[in-house]
Assembly symmetry: C2
């Protein structure tokens, strides 16, 4: 039942992305930034609802489908906590970009009927502009943020590898065997790196 | 311009309620509770958007309209912080109830065109049931939670009185002079108290 794994993993990822983005709203330096983060969090929650609805259509219990992904996703978040606004903004930007890339990959693979997931393009523009101007105001930030983006990627890949080893169904839903899964991660890595480089970091 | 004050105050209250409810989702003991809090937070954000849209229709700058209410609303939240799940659930329940009561009062007064605000009735049922069963499982909780609900009310009234003293326009939008405003607060207090008593507390 590959659908259960993919939908359950994305559902729990969306629910925790909601919490993380909402917490980042608290650190936002302006009301505009706060409201923008809150709007992104709403998108995360709406995606969670769509994924749970897709599970229900398949008569799969959402809590059960999410359960195997709670430890790795919680581990990712606890290893990449930050109280710094720019680091949180970059994490949200990188995460939203990677989620969109992953959704596109799944559509290409065509195996699973993923529900339409919302992607907040306005957020991406906002975040990119804020990050670029923060770096141009204080160029020393570039190195620290580049390091942070590599750490986010590293932790994400490490958890993904751990999950792939455990969950054959998920690997199958994402293209086949572990080699093909590795190639998928590599494509996501390349796009992440290009997105970060385009900000003037790294 | 009474509208600016009332809409600005409610807008900032909704935006911060979003943050507070989203943070409470992090403390929720089950996935169902987490998702329920996230859904309530989404309602808060949607209300924020409706209020900002109502300000825009009146050609009022949202940030300016919210600015006077940032100190008292932030003070309310910082004086009523808690890391306890049941206290946070009760705060969300009490806050949602009071917001609905206040919206009904404003409609009765009829002075201001308030946009339609969402009220999550499913959340109220969920919260009431969780709180009742938590207290029946451990009756000693009743006293602590009753005390907490009085503290929430006390801080809310204290900030409201401070705002009313400063903002003649807001007082006018909410029924007239300080005496009428005091009577409004008394009605809200009575309903809050009845709502808490119905949970088997205090």
């Amino acid at each position: 039942m590959p659908d259960a794994d993919l939908l359950g993993c994305l559902a729990y990822a969306s629910l925790t992305a909601f919490g993380r983005t909402a917490a980042a709203a608290d650190l936002a330096p302006t009301l505009t930034a706060k409201a923008t983060m809150a709007r992104l969090a709403v998108t995360d929650y709406q995606n969670y609802e769509s994924l749970v609805a897709a599970l229900a259509e398949r008569r799969i219990e959402a809590e059960e489908a999410m359960a195997p992904f709670i430890p790795p996703i919680d581990a990712f978040h606890s290893r990449t906590r930050s109280q710094d606004w720019l680091e949180n903004l970059l994490a949200a930007y990188a995460g939203a970009g990677m989620a969109a890339d992953l959704a596109a990959e799944v559509t290409t693979i065509g195996g699973t009927g993923l529900p339409d997931l919302a992607h907040d393009g306005e957020f991406a523009d906002f975040a990119a502009e804020q990050l670029r101007s923060a770096v141009s105001a204080e160029p020393a930030r570039a190195g620290r943020l580049a390091l942070w983006s590599r750490r986010l990627l590293g932790e994400a890949l490490s958890q993904a590898q751990r999950v792939a080893a455990d969950r054959i169904d998920l690997t199958a839903a994402l293209g086949g065997d572990l080699t093909q899964f590795g190639a998928l991660l590599l494509r996501l890595t390349e796009r992440h790196t290009a997105r970060i480089a385009a900000l003037g970091l790294g």
